[in-house]
Symmetry: C2
Subunit: 297 residues, 2 copies
DNA sequence: CGGCACCCACAACCGACGGTTATGCCATCT
DNA sequence: AGATGGCATAACCGTCGGTTGTGGGTGCCG
């Protein structure tokens, strides 16, 4: 099975036509046509049935689709990896963090770092945990910052700071004098809430604890990011449970209270085990840790 | 990144030399040499350092190794899949089962089926669960028989028979009259046992329950298959917990007792959701179910 | 219905790439 | 020193992947 056939098959299935595939691969349409015939020849069964001048994938072709999509993905990943290996590591600091942390914490740390190392080039990405893991493994970035546990995948991680889940509410929801008092989770019973659908350990933990409250809080709106939850809460959509960074950093007018049942959240730096952190990188993490701790103090 | 480069890289790393790789790929050594240079050219960094006339993989090359091995595996799988798709389905019955079930149960069913359908060609493989899953997905076999839960992976499964874990011992271990009496798990405390290291749900379950016994059973020998455990037990190595099929079917002289704490084991048939079972296949499963039930009665 | 746009297949042609054989150099081993 | 094994280079060649050009079929419009 030639790789060319795989690419072509993939291109035809994603564009829907042979000419489209040819354009995608930057070859002429007859070349694609010939290659497709060769592929079918080679395989011993037709991949597409020519019906009314169009290509329609065969049953057998569809059986191979998942496999071929995977291979294309792998090839693409390898491409990324190899270019990142080839690129001279002139960038001493490439950071990827979750959207939550990109709100204020990481920009603050980067700004401060820029003053100390004015000539250092810095790259900052925001990604969710799966993409972050890929980015690190494929050497597109060197440090990941997340609230998730990522000790799987063969990555090293280092705890920077501990905090705990907070409850946020529209302004005026609680009397001012109660804001420092931890809120028992039972107080959420029957309350209108913004649900978090994010598929990570923290989301599951929240979900589990909320499920025990009786009567269950009423969540009509479900969102994927903590930041969105903030915006909705500020507009009176109800309460929400969010990580402490989002709670502190949000620009929205919000009330924030700790939860009595302390649900820990840890800010972690993640990096590859084979490349120890250089001076700029460790300094950066120092700043992040410092800012985080002062933020949660 | 040409596929040829990937194959070559893989071949060099697995044979250790360029000429070896060339032989593996059925090309001449100069061709391999040129291709390798092209690959390094294309990537922008050397894959091997030529030291004293030999090739030594670079640090960068080793970074790509896992990825490339995966891709080669995927390509190989695709190859298998496509040939199995191409092959006209002249084999109405291709079965794969675990070694345990291949002992007597499956051969019995096949023998009986052969009398009813004397002209049917039958293929029988024995594989462990991961390989079984692959074999089914790649259409090398049509039905899998296992004691594992394989509802993941998008496969359908059908329960054929239920049994429970048994304790086996060397002959004369227990008085004859006790053999029907269920043994409480606490009776295993401090006993010499054969450990099972098989990495499946059942193995974990056994491990979990044994961990609770105080004092813990003494397992000096660990084996990977239930059959091996039988052999060792028969030779006086101690007790063991095994699935009921192994317990009943073993040719070794053994004593078998049920466990008081009933740990269920289910015999399952697994198959692809897209290809419903034909007549021969359902008949075969009927026989397996029948034999299994009579065996465990 | 004619015109048009789109899509696929076939033919003829060409350059580059993947392969070959032959040879030389270097290191290691006896 | 000679033999052996491994890699690189050179010269050569056929095939394969690409091109342009063309034709036929289908569907959509005026």
């Amino acid at each position: 099975m030639r790789l060319r056939y795989i690419e072509l098959f993939h291109a035809v299935l994603s564009t829907g036509s042979l000419t489209g595939a040819a354009n995608l691969l930057n070859i002429s349409q007859p070349a694609a046509s010939k290659a497709l015939q060769q592929a079918e020849n080679h395989l011993g069964f037709p991949l597409f049935s020519r019906v009314r001048g169009r290509l329609q994938p065969t049953q057998q072709a569809l059986l191979m689709r998942h496999h071929i999509d995977r291979i294309m993905q792998e090839m693409y990943d390898l491409q990324r990896l190899s270019t990142n290996i080839a690129r001279p590591e002139s960038h001493p600091l490439r950071v990827t963090c979750t959207p939550t942390l990109a709100q204020t914490l990481v920009p603050d740390a980067i700004a401060r770092l820029g003053k100390v190392y004015p000539d250092t080039s810095i790259e900052l990405y925001t990604q969710h945990s799966a993409a972050m893991c890929e980015s690190l493994m494929l050497r597109e970035s060197d440090i990941g910052l997340t609230l998730q546990d990522m000790s799987r995948h063969g990555l090293l991680q280092q705890s920077l700071c501990d905090g705990s889940i907070m409850v946020i509410a529209p302004p005026g929801w609680w009397p001012e004098r109660d804001l420092a008092k931890p809120l028992p989770i039972s107080a959420l019973a029957g309350q209108p809430m913004i649900g978090i659908t994010v598929q990570d350990a923290m989301g599951n933990m929240l979900h589990g604890h909320l499920a025990e409250v009786e009567p269950a809080p009423r969540a009509h709106v479900w969102v994927q990011t903590y930041q969105l939850a903030c915006s909705l809460v500020a507009r009176g959509g109800g309460l929400a449970l969010v990580d402490p960074f989002t709670a502190r950093c949000s620009k929205e007018p919000l009330q924030t209270r700790p939860l009595k049942l302390q649900l820990d959240v840890t800010l972690r730096a993640v990096y590859r085990p084979d490349s120890p952190l250089n001076g700029v990188q460790t300094r950066f993490l120092d700043y992040v840790r410092e800012f985080a701790q002062s933020l949660l103090a």
